[in-house]
């Protein structure tokens, strides 16, 4: 009599699946069929009995930085419950409000339900429903046309960072160009990585779980508790273990409010703070002399005439270049490995060439950047800068955390990255437990930073065409791209100055977008392909993901809703039509099994079957405890040391960090008369980029996007919370609801990034953002960054 004891007894069951026009979930559940028909009250009594809950383990696919392991409950073919998995490691027994609220978002009315064909002008957003047959035929034909006419490189695959499967096989088979994001989230890495030799876009080889060993944790422009909320507990654990946390941020963020000290800073001047701290460290001799002699480029000799370094270079068989530098041993220049105690400072003559050391040059250079100067630029009191430097240098181990928001989105970000790299270099706060510098490792970090999955093998001739130029440049420069296969909301999210993007999109031959939700990029497409969420798959499993020392398996939870298909299925169908069918795996299971076939010993215990048995999560074979990179003090630079002198930047006067203001949002910019406010788009806990704006559950807690403004700026404009405001500059304008918040810095306005045009007056926040690419970008390892925060605007009541 389960029917009688059911808490639902007597309740009218309304039927979502029926009204949504979706086929019954074919999960073989008792009663499922009767629940999805209109006349279930006529069904036999047994059919009313509660269907058994089916529990399925998978992981949450989004690009928030974590990959939460999930326990999903399916009832009557519908997602009835989402919980975090119960895993022994804290990082994987967690799931935030976004993961939990997927229960509603997967059924969102914003889902693209069928393939669509554009009927209006591009960007107008007028579409009609078409069959998958027609959609596949059209896309295949257009791709083929593009290849035939211009070659494979004429097709560009821009894809979202949240995608677990970005159609890698199709890209390769076509010989197309592909890019996740070109010009964002790497800018401080441009400076930092030149010092450390890492090629991780600033992500440090560290684990947040190691912070319990840290004494001084300085976070600059990171709102960890919101942008990396799954790591919140580790920050608190660290604080309880005695770690002193300082947050440097113009905004009084959630993280700032939990820090031991909050240091408000003038936006875009992080480099000045670091330079001031470096000066304090040099002036007070807080640097670790032994360390800098042994592990950094400080003693390296540099020609005073042209700034070139005295070194011997060689190239190994695999193409890696190494350099052995000269140092001064007290009487002459010798190769660095031969001198145990090189001279740090002075001017010497080597073979008739006047030389000095990097350290001497640094000291000289730093004379321009006194703590008093830094105080003026950053608006941080001088004492506070000195104290911060002292703490960092003396109360060790110290950790310097930066973020992908913050200074990363200003034109001077590479300088900030370079300047910050001097701090661990001078004090030795790197390669030891509790130490580190850089962006939080996100899901890539930890031991698994080096994990190497196998791959589905394609014949050698099928390779991607390397990206010929940064995608923001494609908009205004001649390029070979004529067709875009867009995966996700890349047109808005990955590019600044939306109007320039729109002009480019109008010139393209063909645009196809595959996405789950009807977000802004969809409007610019000729054909739209509905993709299912990560919970829905055709095959038994979806994809796998290596994340934070673990491997996670995406299992089928639901059948694809509406007419959606997985990315894999779409790729499979298209490859079939383009004549590549023979190269494709039959199912995702085959693909995953190929990935799991790897020489990497970390995977030695992992098989597909074992992953399934282990509730879709396994720890890879790594040592226990948090990962600490560079413990051997060997760096991937040419010299193997921390190279604070960036010889490659000589032509740009950035061999040592020389301060430059942000390109637009600087204090005395005359443009401020017209556009006095700086506009920043911060990541919040409630969304991940352009995702979750359609989450009814999240929206009931925190509404539509809002522009937050300090009371003084609001008062000057006669604004009240709840007013609709117009945000504009010469690039464009959009409108949004404003909120007056004391936490906002006077002179700065901020809103959540990744908003949808429908919530911002039909235009995008990217309509006003700065997209100027700096010249130096040509020689920076990751190119120029899009300085989206480096934007001045005016705000007025709409």
């Amino acid at each position: 009599m389960s029917g009688a004891t059911s808490p639902h007894a007597g309740m009218t069951r309304r039927n979502f699946l029926k009204t949504a026009g979706v086929a019954a979930g074919a999960l073989g559940l008792a009663g499922a069929a009767s629940m999805t028909t209109t006349n279930n009250w006529l069904a036999p009594a047994e059919a009313h009995a509660e269907a058994e809950d089916q529990v399925i383990y998978t992981f949450h696919q989004t690009n928030c930085g974590n990959r939460c392991s999930l326990k999903c409950t399916v009832r009557d073919g519908r997602m009835a419950n989402i919980e975090s998995n119960t895993w022994e490691e804290d990082q994987y027994s967690i799931c935030c409000l976004k993961g939990l609220s997927e229960i509603q978002r997967i059924y969102s009315p914003d889902r693209i339900q069928t393939p669509l064909k554009r009927v209006g002008e591009r960007g107008e957003g007028k579409f009609e429903s078409i069959s998958w047959e027609e959609a596949f035929d059209t896309v295949a034909q257009k791709l083929q046309e593009s290849v035939d006419k211009y070659g494979g490189s004429s097709i560009l695959f821009p894809y979202s960072s949240g995608l677990v499967y970005e159609m890698p096989l199709l890209r390769k088979l076509l010989g197309a160009q592909a890019i996740c994001e070109s010009g964002i989230d790497m800018a401080q890495g441009n400076g930092l990585d030149q010092t450390t030799g890492d090629a991780t876009m600033g992500k440090g080889p560290y684990e947040v779980t190691d912070w319990v060993n840290t004494k001084t944790l300085i976070m600059v422009g990171v709102n960890l508790l919101e942008s990396g909320m799954t790591d919140a507990r580790f920050m608190f654990d660290a604080q309880e273990a005695g770690c002193n946390v300082t947050v440097v941020d113009p905004i009084f963020t959630s993280t700032a409010s939990k820090a031991d000290t909050w240091v408000p800073i003038e936006p875009g001047t992080d480099a000045a703070l670091y330079l001031g701290m470096v000066s304090a460290i040099l002036d007070n001799e807080w640097y670790d002399e032994e360390y800098i002699k042994a592990h950094t480029s400080c003693p390296f000799l540099v020609s005073t005439a042209d700034g070139s370094m005295l070194k011997e270079t060689s190239t190994a068989e695999d193409g890696t270049e190494t350099a052995t530098h000269y140092v001064w041993d007290g009487s002459r220049a010798r190769l660095m490995d031969e001198v145990a105690d090189p001279i740090l400072e002075g001017t010497f003559e080597v073979d008739g060439v006047e030389c000095t050391t990097v350290f001497s040059l640094l000291k000289e250079n730093q004379k321009n950047y006194t703590t008093a100067w830094a105080s003026e630029v950053t608006t941080i009191p001088e004492d506070q800068i000195i104290e911060l430097a002292r703490k960092y240098a003396q109360e060790t181990p110290s950790f310097l955390l930066i973020g992908y928001g913050g200074n990363d989105k200003y034109s001077n970000a590479d300088i900030a990255g370079h300047a910050m790299s001097l701090l661990p270099s001078l004090t030795g706060n790197i390669g030891k437990p509790g130490c580190g510098a850089g962006v939080r490792g996100n899901h890539y970090g930890c031991h698994s930073l080096t994990a190497k999955l196998g791959a589905w093998a394609l014949p050698a001739e099928f390779v991607e065409t390397p990206l010929e130029m940064q995608t923001p440049l494609m908009r205004t420069n001649p390029s070979s791209v004529h067709t875009v296969f867009n995966l996700g909301n890349t047109f808005v999210q990955h590019l600044g100055n939306y109007n320039t993007t729109k002009e480019w999109l109008k010139t393209l031959d063909f645009i196809v977008t595959s996405d789950i939700y009807y977000c802004d990029s969809v409007a610019w497409s000729d054909i739209v392909l509905p993709v299912c969420t990560g919970f829905e798959t055709r095959d038994e499993c979806g994809m796998i993901q290596v994340s934070k020392n673990h491997i996670l398996l995406q299992m089928k939870v639901l059948d694809p809703l509406f007419e959606s298909k997985t990315d894999f299925e779409i790729e499979h169908e298209l490859c079939g039509r383009l004549g590549f069918g023979e190269y494709m795996p039959e199912s995702t299971v085959d693909y995953v099994k190929a990935q799991l076939t790897t020489d990497d010993q970390a995977f030695k215990n992992v098989t597909y079957e074992k992953l399934k048995e282990n509730n879709s999560i396994m720890r890879l074979d790594y040592p226990d405890g948090p990962y600490v990179g560079h413990t051997d003090q060997v760096y991937k630079t040419k010299s193997g040391r921390l190279e604070i002198y960036h010889e490659g930047m000589l032509g740009y006067n950035q061999e040592l960090p020389n301060y430059e203001s942000p390109i637009e949002a600087y204090a005395d910019n005359p443009l401020k008369e017209k556009y006095p406010l700086q506009f920043v788009q911060a990541r919040r806990r409630y969304r991940v980029h352009t995702q979750w704006w359609n989450s009814e559950w999240v929206n009931q807690i925190v509404p539509y996007p809002t522009l937050e403004i300090n009371p003084t700026d609001a008062e000057a404009r006669g604004l009240q919370s709840g007013d609709t405001v117009r945000i504009f500059n010469d690039r464009g304008e959009f409108s949004v609801t404003c909120l007056i918040n004391n936490a906002a810095r006077p002179g700065q306005v901020y809103m959540c990034e990744g908003t949808w045009c429908r919530d911002t007056g039909g235009a995008s926040y990217q309509d006003v953002t700065n997209d100027t690419l700096i010249e130096r970008g040509k020689v920076l390892p990751y190119g120029a960054n899009i300085p989206m925060y480096d934007t001045l605007v005016q705000v007025e009541k709409a």
Binding site: E696, N699, Q700, I701, V702, P703, Y704, G722
Partner: protein, 403 residues
Amino acid sequence: MTSGKTKIAYAVLGILTVAGIAAWIYQLMGGLGVTGMNNGTSWGLYIGCFMFFVGLSAGGLIVASSASVFHVAEYKKVALPAVILSTACICVAGIFVLVDLGGIQRVWRIITGFNPTSPLCWDICVICLYLVINIIYLVFMTSNKDDADRKVAIVSRFALPVAILVHSVTAWIFGLQLSREGWYSAIMAPLFVVSAMDSGLALLMLVLGGLNKSGWFKTEKKLMSSLAGLLATCVAIDAFLVGCEVLTMAYPGAAGAETLAVMTSGVTAPFFWAEIALGLLIPFCILVFARNRENMGLVMLASACIVIGVFCKRIWLLFTSFFMPNVYGAPGIISGSSASAHATGMDVWAVVGTYAPTWVEIVIVIGVISLGALAFMVMCQKLLPAAKKEQSSDAPAAEGAAA
């Protein structure tokens, strides 16, 4: 047959009642979400009207029972219409509680699950008792038997304390709630009793005036003036108690002062000041002078002011305490209203209480009051000798039976 005017009155009241019932059925179907109430302001116009009508019913019974208990012979003359009014009002009050229930189909649970610590349970008991006493009163007063007077005298000895109790208990529904700054006060019961007396007496005066005009019941002017004097006294006491309460709230400059600020300069301020002006100052200034008490126009005006003033008092008393939640901070309280189930963000929440009655509530309130008025008219026609005469003048056959 009844007169044309009366017929029109019956027709209008009947239509309004039917409209009210229709609105109530709509409310039963849709849930209380059709009202303006929400999780922050969880009681609204219905409970305000409940407080008001419990009070209004008092005047009648207190006048009638004082007549017997304290042997105020004059008052005996108006005892019958007074008790009729009292009965109608208490029924109206009871109906307001019922229409406010979310699960009226489970109302029997009060009997099976009776919780002796709940002031609402006390109130239900006392209201039932009060209604019963009113009915017994009516039966005895209209009885032709010889010992009716003695029985009336006995009943009135019970009626007076029950009347005072019914207002006190209603006051305790609010006055015992520590959680609501504006309610929690020992003065709440006396304040309710005296408000009940002045509003009830004022309504009785208005009704007597009306009955006078319709010719259904004649009241001597002298008696009216005397009642007006009593009214002035009640108003003065009411003013005194309100003054005590306000001073006690204001003096420490603590939480009470914040609540006071809401009612003196915040959202409920219009009602507070209306009460001070209409309920206290204006009527007192009118009625304090004997000469004015002779002027029936002024007496009626003062009475009307008092009824409106006391209604305003119910409003501020009820809502001021819903305005500021004890645990203050955004997003506040999730409203739970119909609109909010489909709304997002700031529309779902309220940092401070908000409330405005919807048309459904207003129609139901008008309907319930109309029903009460109908009941009053019917009872008057059945029970008041003069009214009976009017009713039967066109129907001689009935006269004999009534006689």
